[in-house]
Subunit: 361 residues, 2 copies
């Protein structure tokens, strides 16, 4: 890997409405609504909010016919391509397709009716919509609630997921479906990484990457960033979803920031680089960072702002950024475009730094 | 990579007080005090708090002689091995060594006196203490405030860091020092990953891994988990520090959770696996997760608790965990050791789940 960019795995392009997954298209960020899908207004409101912050594809649960019937109106009002998420009942997947979704997600591991599932693949192929074949670690161990692999060892979960997923894809291809996206999520980081690495080698399907049931925001951010991040850094992953027991916009924001951290998505607004502070720091850096972040939250220009507590890495990082400060005793040095421009008093620090950033439009 | 465990890179063992870095020792978590080191009581208080939550090595800034003189008392009172962090002035590093530190960290890129630095290496070798040679991306571009590599392209930063670091190690070895730990932190994720990958191949020094100046907690967690996590998942990294503009215990906790997510450190207390919720969920899962987390915060047994909103992945994940629930309409199924034990009313959910977890000591 070159340190400035990631060489991405080659995958076949699959269209999801206006978005392409795979085939060299930018890695897209997906969200999932947490409303009841049949509450069309609440669902559309949530989709609009997620679209606003940069979400590119939305998925809605379709657990029953009521949700299935409502989906048409969601599709119609949604600014984003809509994926219907279906389990157990292939009729619901057919219903989604009739309602005009851009794609459906099925987990072949819990579809009771195999012929019915083939019908879903044929219907999707006919309408040229995509199907995500999404296995979860939970479902390779049990099918329809029955333990099928009692003795599956943890280290075999990934292999089992991949082989089951590829068999499912073979069936889908035999029904004429080409628009397949694959996902292999486990609730643990290592089997997730192992499963995607192996699938990445064994097929050319674009991969939807995520860690499932990752828990509340803090632990999900850690597990998702390690799991998804490791794969993305290796060039694996065409679309991502961060899953979190928390507000849906947290999930989308974390996904976007992850792509930005890896240079897979451009910056949006200022980026703050700041030091952890230590015994060297003579200014209240944490509150400077908080104040600057608050003051710049609606600033749209992509400016790199370094807020450094001392002269050790301060001038280096500050000079590398578009605008930066390196703290001293009761004052700080202000940098712009790599050049020291002046010394500012600690009391004027936030104002002067923000003023410099605001010169970037 | 086997999905159940990481094959770690081989590195030479380096002792830091009672802790070994490298040589197959468990990956250790480091913290850094954010107090003024000369405030011995405040510094020791912070060290004790970090030790309490699982920090294994502590670093203190030594920016001046006052801090250097105080370090002896910090070393004496500290429950953790203490590393003195020194920049610019080799005399301060010698002072740290005299004060009985377990190690010093120097950045050869900002040490003005090359002969002085050699003296530090010799003194460390004599006392058998470790030296971290810690380069930062900022310092390869400028030395003592002067731009030395005006035209360094982003993609060359990693290469430059590695070659400068290895030259510095050669000098240290020529002075008889063997206890060398290397770090190559950049404030961006990709050059950080690239630099460590390349160093991992080119030497056998244990690696101290981190992303520098990673910013406030949210963005630092994302950058650190991708940067450090990717390397750890590849077996690279012998000791880690998460750097955050925020409280020091956040840094340590994130580091520990990262190791746990990768199976590199055992669990401490309950682990909550919970679903993101979607249109399928009929219970207020987010508040269940919050309540259960709060109620179990002092529980010490390592129990895996799955809190799942519905029957899709619910039974699979819940059955995989030690204790779990899969939500239904106004009620949930309770699982223990993979077996469904009973249905519980939504109003009794938290109580019954916590009671089941508390059976594990």
């Amino acid at each position: 890997m070159n340190s400035a960019s990631i060489k991405r795995r080659e995958s076949r392009p699959v269209r999801v409405g206006p978005v392409t997954i795979g085939g060299g298209a930018p890695v897209s960020v997906q969200g999932m609504t947490k409303t009841h899908t049949e509450d069309v207004e609440a669902t559309l409101q949530q989709i609009r909010e997620l679209a606003e912050i940069g979400c590119e594809i939305i998925r809605c649960a379709v657990p029953n016919r009521r949700a299935g019937r409502a989906l048409g109106r969601v599709v119609e009002g949604s600014p984003l391509p809509v994926i219907g998420d279906v389990h157990f009942d292939h009729e619901l997947a057919l219903m989604c397709i009739e309602q005009g979704v851009a794609g459906v997600r099925v987990n072949p591991g819990n579809m009771k009716d195999e012929d019915g599932l083939r019908e879903v693949y044929r219907a999707a192929a006919e309408r040229d919509i995509k199907v995500r074949i999404g296995l979860n670690s939970g479902s390779v161990k049990r099918r329809n609630g029955i333990e099928v692999a009692d003795e599956v060892k943890d280290e075999d979960v990934a292999d089992l997921m991949v082989s089951e997923a590829l068999s499912a894809c073979e069936i889908a291809e035999s029904e004429g479906l080409r628009n397949i996206v694959l996902s292999l999520k486990a609730s643990e980081v290592l089997p997730t990484i192992a499963a995607y690495r192996s699938a990445a080698e064994e097929c050319d399907y674009p991969l939807h990457v995520g860690v499932t049931a990752a828990g509340p925001p803090e632990s999900s951010t850690i597990k998702s960033c390690i799991g998804i991040g490791t794969l993305l850094a290796e060039g694996i992953g065409d679309t991502i979803r961060v899953s979190m027991t928390g507000p849906p916009h947290y999930e989308v924001r974390t996904g976007i920031k992850m792509l930005q951290a890896l240079g897979l998505r451009g910056p949006e607004g200022p980026e703050i680089v700041s030091c952890p502070t230590c015994g060297r720091c003579e200014i209240d850096l944490r509150s400077v960072v908080q104040d600057v972040t608050d003051r710049l939250k609606d600033h749209s220009a992509s400016v790199k702002v370094a807020i450094m507590g001392c002269v050790v890495n301060g001038p280096g990082e500050a000079a590398d950024a578009d605008v930066g400060i390196a703290g001293g005793k009761d004052s700080a040095l202000l940098f712009r475009n790599g050049k020291k421009i002046r010394k500012v008093d600690a009391s004027r620090l936030v104002d002067e730094l923000v003023a410099e950033v605001e010169k970037y439009e």
